[in-house]
Symmetry: C3
C-alpha cells in the first residue's frame, strides 16, 4: 500500500514543544500574507496568454534544473527525461510525457532531504489534492490526476496566480526583449501584478554568447549608436526607461565575480573600443564588466531602479552537456567569491548614498559573516539578498540568519526571493522561507533575546514589508 502524503501544519518547526509553539504563533501571523515575488524567472507568456499547462512532465520536470540535474547525477540521461538537445541527432529523446513522469517517480527517493522534495510534496498535496506519496507504484495515479486537473480552467496560470495569493511577481527579461507579454498584461489590467526586471548581462558581458550581435540589435531597437561609448550608454538608458514603463523597479546582474571598477571617461572610451572591435583580452573584459556595474549603479541613482548583483557561479561547467543542451542545465557550479576588494570601487562611489540600493546575493556562504554582513552593516546603499539558488533550503535559510543577523540585523536584508521558473513551487518556497524565519525568530524569543511582540513585527517585515520596501513596490 502506498504511503500517505500529508502536509503537516507544523512542518519545519523544531521538535522542542516550547520552540514549536512560538514558531507556530509567529507563523500564524504571516501565513496568509500575500506573496511578493520580486525576483524570479517565470515565463510572462503564461500570465499573458493564460493557456493551460501542457502536461505534468512539461510543467514539473523538463523545465526544472533542480529536478533533472539530480536524476542526471545518478546516471539518467537527459534525453530520457524528454529534454530536447540544442541540435538534433544523438540519443533519441523520450516523447511520451507519461514515461518521463514514471522515470521521475521511480527515482523520487533521490530527493529525500532536499528542498525539491518539500516543494513537490507541497504541490502534489496542496495544489492537486494527492494524498499518497509519489513512487513507481503511484506514478500513473499522479500523472492522470494532474493531467486531468491541468485541463481545467482552475489550473490555468492566472487562476493559480490568484489562488496562490500572489500580489506581485517580477519576471526577468533582457534588454533585447520587446516585452510583448508585459504589454498585453498591462492591457489586461494585470500590469501591476506581473512586472519585468532588467537583466542586461547579454549586452554588458563581452563573454556572453553573441555579445556583438546583441549590441547591433540594441542599436536597432533604440536608434542609438552602440559602437561608441556614449551611444552605448544612451541605448542602455533608453531600454531601462522602456523596462520601467513595463513595470520594472529593479535591474539584475549575474556576473562571474563581484568585481567593480571606476574608470575615467577616457579610459571607458578606450576600453569600449577594444571591446567592440573584438580586440580585448580576458582581463579587459573583466574590467569592462566591472565598469558596467558602476555605470548601472550610476543610472540607478538617476532612474531609481534597484540594482541586484549575484556573482560567483561558474556557468556551463560541463562542456559536453553545454554543447548538446545549452545553458541552465544544472551544470552551473558556485565558486569562492571575494566582495571586499571587488565592490570597493562601486561602494566608494555610490555606497554612502541612501537613495541608491544595491542588493547583493551570494553562492559562497562563507562570505555571510565575514564580508557581506559587515559591508551591509555599514554602507547605506547595500542590502543583503536572501539565501539563493543552491541555498534556498531550510538549512541554507538558517545559515543565512545565523551568520548575518548578528552584524547586519534584520533591516539590512530584503525579504525572500523565490528566484524560480517553477511557477507551482512559488507558494511552497515562500512557505518554507516564512517558516524558517519564524523558527529563527522563535529561537531568539525562547532564549529571551527578543520579546515575542517584536518578533511578530519582524516576521511580517521579513515575509512581506521588506520586499515591498527594498524593491520599491
Amino acid at each position: 500500500m502506498a504511503a500517505r502524503l500529508e502536509l503537516q501544519p507544523d512542518r519545519l518547526f523544531p521538535a522542542d514543544p516550547a520552540l514549536r509553539a512560538i514558531a507556530r504563533r509567529l507563523h500564524e501571523t504571516v501565513r496568509d500574507l500575500p506573496i511578493i515575488s520580486p525576483h524570479g524567472h517565470t515565463d510572462p507568456s503564461w500570465f499573458a496568454d493564460n493557456a493551460p499547462f501542457p502536461n505534468p512532465s512539461e510543467l514539473l520536470i523538463t523545465p526544472d534544473h533542480y529536478v533533472f540535474r539530480m536524476l542526471y547525477s545518478q546516471g539518467i540521461a537527459l534525453e530520457d527525461l524528454g529534454i530536447q538537445p540544442v541540435e538534433p541527432g544523438g540519443r533519441p529523446v523520450e516523447t511520451d510525457p507519461r514515461k518521463v513522469w514514471r522515470r521521475f517517480a521511480e527515482n523520487y527517493h533521490l530527493f529525500s532531504g532536499t528542498p525539491s522534495r518539500m516543494w513537490h510534496d507541497w504541490v502534489y498535496s496542496e495544489v492537486f489534492g494527492l494524498d499518497v506519496v509519489l513512487s513507481a507504484e503511484t506514478a500513473d495515479l499522479y500523472y492522470d490526476t494532474m493531467d486531468a486537473a491541468l485541463k481545467t480552467d482552475a489550473f490555468r496560470p492566472r487562476a493559480l496566480f490568484e489562488r496562490f495569493n500572489i500580489e506581485l511577481i517580477a519576471t526577468t527579461e533582457d534588454p533585447l526583449d520587446l516585452l510583448p507579454h508585459h504589454a498585453k498584461l498591462k492591457r489586461d489590467g494585470w500590469g501591476d501584478k506581473v512586472i519585468t526586471a532588467f537583466r542586461p548581462d547579454n549586452v554588458l558581458d563581452p563573454d556572453y554568447e553573441g555579445f556583438l550581435d546583441n549590441l547591433e540589435t540594441l542599436a536597432d531597437i533604440t536608434g542609438c549608436e552602440t559602437t561608441g561609448w556614449l551611444g552605448y550608454l544612451d541605448a542602455l538608458k533608453d531600454r531601462r526607461a522602456y523596462f520601467r514603463e513595463h513595470g520594472a523597479t529593479s535591474t539584475d546582474h549575474g556576473h562571474p565575480t563581484a568585481f567593480t571598477a571606476d574608470l575615467t571617461q577616457a579610459e571607458c572610451e578606450a576600453l569600449f573600443h577594444d571591446i567592440v572591435t573584438g580586440a580585448s583580452t580576458p582581463a579587459q573584459r573583466e574590467l569592462f564588466r566591472g565598469q558596467m556595474l558602476t555605470e548601472m549603479a550610476k543610472m540607478s541613482l538617476e532612474d531609481g531602479l534597484v540594482m541586484q548583483l549575484h556573482p560567483g557561479c561558474f556557468r556551463n561547467h560541463n562542456d559536453a552537456l553545454f554543447a548538446r543542451f545549452g545553458r541552465n542545465m544544472g551544470a552551473d557550479i558556485p565558486v569562492a567569491t571575494e566582495y571586499v576588494e571587488a565592490l570597493r570601487p562601486l561602494l566608494n562611489k555610490f555606497g554612502n548614498n541612501p537613495d541608491f540600493t544595491l542588493i547583493m546575493f551570494t553562492l559562497d556562504e562563507d562570505s555571510y559573516s565575514r564580508e557581506l554582513a559587515p559591508l551591509a552593516g555599514h554602507y547605506p546603499a547595500l542590502k543583503l539578498g536572501p539565501p539563493w539558488w543552491f541555498h534556498d533550503s531550510p538549512e541554507g535559510m538558517r545559515r543565512f540568519r545565523e551568520r548575518t543577523t548578528e552584524t547586519a540585523g534584520f533591516y539590512n536584508t530584503v525579504g525572500f526571493n523565490d528566484d524560480t521558473r517553477a511557477f507551482l513551487s512559488i507558494p511552497a518556497r515562500h512557505d518554507v522561507a516564512r517558516r524558517m524565519d519564524c523558527v529563527w525568530l522563535a529561537q531568539l524569543v525562547a532564549e529571551h533575546r527578543l520579546p515575542e511582540e517584536e518578533a511578530a513585527v519582524i516576521a511580517s517585515d521579513l515575509a512581506y514589508n521588506l520586499a515591498k520596501r527594498a524593491y520599491k513596490l
Copy 2:
C-alpha cells in the same frame, strides 16, 4: 504602554528543559567568578582620573562603532549622532546629546537579534535599573534616568569597576604612549587592576599613517638610533620593558594578513634600509611586517610577553568616511585569511617552544576547523583566541566551540576577551560568553559526551582560569 524590559535568568539557554537545566547548573558555578579582561580598548584615563562620564550619548553611542555603524547603514548621518569629523566644515554636527539619544532610541529596532541589543538591554536593566524597553516613547525617560545616575559617585569608573567584579583589565597602548594614566593608577594602588598591553602597529607597519614620524618619536623616547636595524630593535625592546613595568603581560598585533617571515640579519638590514628611506614597494612592506612578527616572537621568548595576533581586516574601506572621520568608524571589513603558509616561518622557528605563547585571533571563521584548530592542536606555542569583534555574538561563540573543540579541545583556547571600548558592556559580554560556553558544555553533557562534573571544571577554566594562565596574570 511601553513594553517591559526584564533580564531573564535563563537568557541564552536553549529551550529544551533538560539542556536548560544543565546549562543553568553549570552557569551557577561560574556566574559570580571575577572578570578577567586581558584584551580590550577601554580608556585608561577613565580609571586614572575617575571623572564622571559626561552623558548617556557620549557614554553609549558616540564611542561605540558597533552602534553607530548600524544606524549609518540605514541612512543616518554620523553628524546627526554627534560624531565629530576630523576636520571642521561640512554637515553640522548635532551638539545636543539628548537629540542624539532620541535618534538612537527611535531606531532601536535595527538592533533586534544583534549582540548590541543584548549588551544594551543588560546595561539598561542591570546598571541603570530601567524596566521598560527603549523606544521613541521611552527615550527621554532613559536619558533622564541615566544622566542623573551618571552624575552620582556610584557611576564613576572605579565604582563601576568594583561593582562589575572586575579583577583585572588590560588596556591597549602604542609604544609612543608614555603611559601616564597607568603610572597614576600604580601610584593609586590600582596597578594590579588596570594594566597596559603593547600594541606596536604604528611603529611596525610601514603603511601606518605617520610611520616614519613615529620612528623619530620612538628614537626621541628611547634614545635609540631608529634609522638603523639594530637600533630600531633596541628601541622596541626598550619600550617593551617600559610597558612591562606598567603591568603589560602581552603584546597585540593587528596586521592585514598573518604573513610571517624569517630573514637573515643581512636581509633584515637591507630591507629596513629601504623601508626607512621610503623607497619600499608594497611587497617589501608586507615582508617587513612579516619579519617584525617573527622579531616580536623572539623578543617574547626573551621577555616573557605573550604575543597576540589578529590579522584579516581591510581597514578604512570607505574612503569618504575615512577622510572625514578617520579610523575606527565601522568601515573595517574582514577578508579571507590564510594561516597555514603564512604562520609557517614563525612557527617553524618558535612554535615548538612551550615557553612561547602566540594567541591567534581570526575574523575568518572558515579557518576555525580547517586551519587554526589543527595548528593549535599541534604546536605547543599556539593557542586560539576567542571569537572576536564581529563574532563575539552568541552564534559566533557557538560556531567557535563547534568548530574548534573537536580538534583543539578546550585547553588550546584562552578564555574570553571582550575587546571593547564600551566599558559598561564588559560584564554583559562576559555574561554572554559564560552562558554560551555553558550551553555548549550542557549539550556535551546531555548527549553523554562529557560527565557533568568535568563540564563544571571546564566551565570555570573557560570563564576564569584559562585567561589568567594564558596571559600570565
Copy 3:
C-alpha cells in the same frame, strides 16, 4: 573516588525527547549491521599474523597521531610518549610503556569534547570492560587490566575483527608493496574480509621522498621500462591488476590540491621526460600530478577500480618534527581547496560516464555546500566521501549532512569511512557515524520533512548499503 565510566545507550542523541525517541528507533535498525570499512590504514600484518598486540601504549597511544599531537600541543615531548625518532640521538625516548600510559592518563582531560575521548571511552568500556573514567588515579588499573586482556586469545586481531562484526576491511598499500600479508590472508580464507587498496602517491608525485628510486623499484617489480611514459603507464596498470588480484576495488590518491589536467600524449611524454630526468619545475610537477589523476581515471574506466581523491593537506608543516620523526606526526594541516576549476579537466573527460566513480574527500568544509554538493549533484561519476580525518567528529558529521543533503541528497554520498590506523576505534567510529546520521534523519522526520519509514531505509543505506555499492564490494 574515581568517576564512573558508563556508555549511555542514548549517547549523541539530542536532548529533546521527541527527537531522541526517533533517533533511537532509527538507530535500532542499523546498530547491529555489519561494519564495512572500505577505506582505512590498519596494518594487514595484524590480521595475517594474528599476533597479540604488545601492550596498551603501543596499541592505543604510540601509533595514533590524533592522540599524541594533542599531548604534544600542550608541551609534552613525543619522546616522553615513547615515540621513536627516525634517527637516534637527542632527547632519550621513554621505553617503559606503563610510564607512557600514565602520562597519557594524567592528561586525559585535554581530550574532553573531542572525538578521541569518545572513541577511547568506547574502547575502555566496550572492549575492556572498564567502568571508571581514565585519570592519573586509575592509570595503573587501566594498564593492568588492558595488558592482561591483550595477552589472551580473545584480544588477538582476528578475534577482535569477528567480535567487532566487521564484514570487510580495506587496508591501504602503495604499488611497491608486494602484499605478502594479503596473500597470506587469502590462503587463510580471509581474502574476502581483508582487502587492499591501491595508493600510488609515492610513484605519482614527483615531490614524494624517493620518487625516482621508487620508479626504479617499480620497474624491477613489473619488468616495465619506467623511464618512458608508456612503460610507466604499463607498470601502473600492471600493479593495479596485481592489487585487484589481492582484493582491491579502489584506488586512493592524496594530493596537495585537486588539480587535474588533460594533456595530449606528446605533452605527456615531454613532461614525463622532464620529471624523470629531475629537470622539472614545481609547476611541472603539479601539472604531472594533475595529469596522473586523469590517467588514473582512465585506467579506472578500464579495470573498474573506484577512484578516491583527498586533496588539501599541507603535509609535514613542522620542519623540526619532520626531520626528527618523519611523516604522519600530527603536523599535517588542512588548507583552502578549490574544486570547480581543478576537477574540470578530469570531469569533462570522464565525469559524464556513470561507469566511472570518483569519490571526493575534503578537509575544507567550506566546499561542501559551495562546490562539492553542486558538483556531485550534477556529474554522474562524482560521489562525496564522508567527513574525513579532522572532521569525522559528531559536529563534522552534522555539518556534512547539513551542507550537502540539500543539493546532493543522500544518494550521491557513499556511507562512512573510518580512515583509521587505530583498529580498536573502528567500531566506535562507525557507532558515532551511525548515531549522527540517525540524528540528522530524526530531525528531518521530526520536522515532517521525511516519513520515518523512508528515514529507516536511508539509515540502512548510509550505514551499510551505500558503502558496498560505491566501493563495489
